[in-house]
């Protein structure tokens, strides 16, 4: 597994050398948190959240959804399609490197990056706004993993279907941005009019927010079976399709 390790390390370095990607996946959600944290504070608002939590407490798990969406729907399609377009993947293909190892190393990098983004959110919340969590960290982490893997599969499918990097970028944006606002990730669903709120039932990112936020607030898995099952389904089916569709050139 020497090639997995090397590929993982090199790709991680490459990611960190890319300031724009770095900013959007790591710093941007934390900036949002700072902004809305200062505006609304983190006083418990049971009348709004239905339980004893404040804006920051609810935003950290929701923004985790933004991070997963950014990495999966912007980062993965653009990186993968442009590596294919400019012939980086062709060069790999001329070596004994197996596609599965390439994909595993890349997925590991994206997971780590997303995890780092979440960590920055949590630390910002803890240090500045006295962030509260009622659920178990391990559950939140498991939900994070499931959500990220499900969404990464979607990202790789977009990357494979898009003929060019430019199209991959546009498709990623068109899917991600509306979803960010209509899923509860970018802003609470309670702020949306009733009919728009319905739309969220059809957006995969909504289930990420429901699952992570639910576990964060301390709901048991049993109450969250619907988002869990949906995300698990996307993960299984998506991974099958993504690995079928993956192409070096």
């Amino acid at each position: 597994m020497r090639s997995f390790r090397k590929l993982f390390l090199v790709q991680l370095k490459l990611y960190l050398r890319e300031p724009v990607a770095f900013f959007f996946s790591l710093a941007y959600p934390a900036l949002l948190l700072l902004l809305f944290g200062y505006i609304y504070g983190n006083e418990p608002a049971p009348e709004f959240w239905g339980r004893n939590f404040g804006t920051v407490d609810a935003s950290v798990p929701a923004y985790t959804g933004i991070i997963i969406g950014t990495v999966a729907l912007m980062g993965i399609p653009i990186d993968t399609a442009s590596s294919r377009e400019n012939g980086v993947l062709r060069r790999y293909r001329a070596t004994p490197l197996r596609p599965a190892i390439y994909l595993a190393a890349s997925v590991a990098v994206y997971l780590l990056v997303a995890l780092l983004g979440m960590l920055i959110l949590v630390v910002t919340g803890k240090l500045i706004f006295d962030l509260r969590i009622a659920g178990a960290w391990l559950n939140v982490l498991a939900a994070f993993l499931l959500s990220a893997l499900a969404f990464f599969a979607i990202g790789y499918i977009i990357a494979s279907l898009a003929p060019t990097a430019r199209i991959a970028q546009v498709v990623g944006m068109v899917i991600f941005f509306p979803m960010m606002f209509l899923s509860g990730a970018g802003m609470p669903l309670q702020l949306l009019p009733e009919n728009l709120r319905r739309v969220s039932d059809f957006l995969p990112l909504s289930y990420v927010v429901r699952l992570i936020q639910g576990l964060w607030f301390g709901d048991p898995w049993a109450e969250l079976w619907l988002p869990s099952v949906i995300l698990f389904g996307i993960f299984i089916v998506g991974t099958m399709i993504a690995s079928r569709l993956f192409r070096w050139e």
Partner: protein, 320 residues
Amino acid sequence: MQAQEIITVENLYKHYGQVKAVDGISLQISASEIFGMVGPNGSGKTTTIECIEGLRQPDKGKVRVLGLDPEKDFYALREIIGVQLQACNLPARMRVEEALDLFASFYQHSVDWRALLDDLGLTEKRRSFYNQLSGGQKQRLFVALALINRPNIVFLDELTTGLDPQARRATWDLVRRIREQGTTVFLTTHFMEEAERLCDRVAILDHGRVIAMDTPNSLVSQLGMSRRVTFEINGHSSGATKIANHAASDFNPALLGVVEGVQKVDQDGNEVVVHGKGNGLVGELVRALENAGVSFTNLRSEQANLEDVFLALTGRAIRN
């Protein structure tokens, strides 16, 4: 010594829609030779070499490389060949040393890449990002990547395209050194001179077919034209152009056709090219011209080369 065939290609076909990229090619390459495929743009060099490497699937035909089927034994073949692609890249922000270290890890056996860097004169560039390298440095990096597993055969597609003449010569030396270490070299180029100077054997491709294959020397001598003499009729200064054109239209090529050793006379404006053989050819031509009172300038004599072979076989010059 019995030459051992390590690459065999039989009746290879690859069509892209109407384009017959490879149209029935057969080749045999023996161990430790430098084999070159040469031909104009779009003649099918890359398609052929990539079918042999297993990177493209031929429509028809049989390919064996070191006894392996490039399609079925795809990964086994990767381990023992090295590939430099005509069109590929590395990530812009990947460092030279990272690339070598990474690619070395893909193989079961790899050489010490530091020595390889040294060999290719890239040691000072080891910390540079890929996108900071010049074209020639990128080429050398790709050669290094192609050699990193100490391959039995290395495939080099358009190795020297985009290099200046000095870098090109240095690359030829490098290719010769690779061969001296026992590696078979299969290369493509559209520089006839390169094929002639570097390759033990050359296949000339045109429209997806091999139109000639032999050592450069035999190809040229089979042509039966050993020499080419070029001169201009009285056109040495621009002021004289008018007169020269006049003189050119007066000039009768048949005048030289009868000179001993001359095989063919071509005239293009005031430039005349005489193909022929024999040691006394130049002297005979000068005498004939002076006797006829033709004033000429800029007379030079060159050995016939692969460009002439291509011209003779296709009726076209290889460029354009």
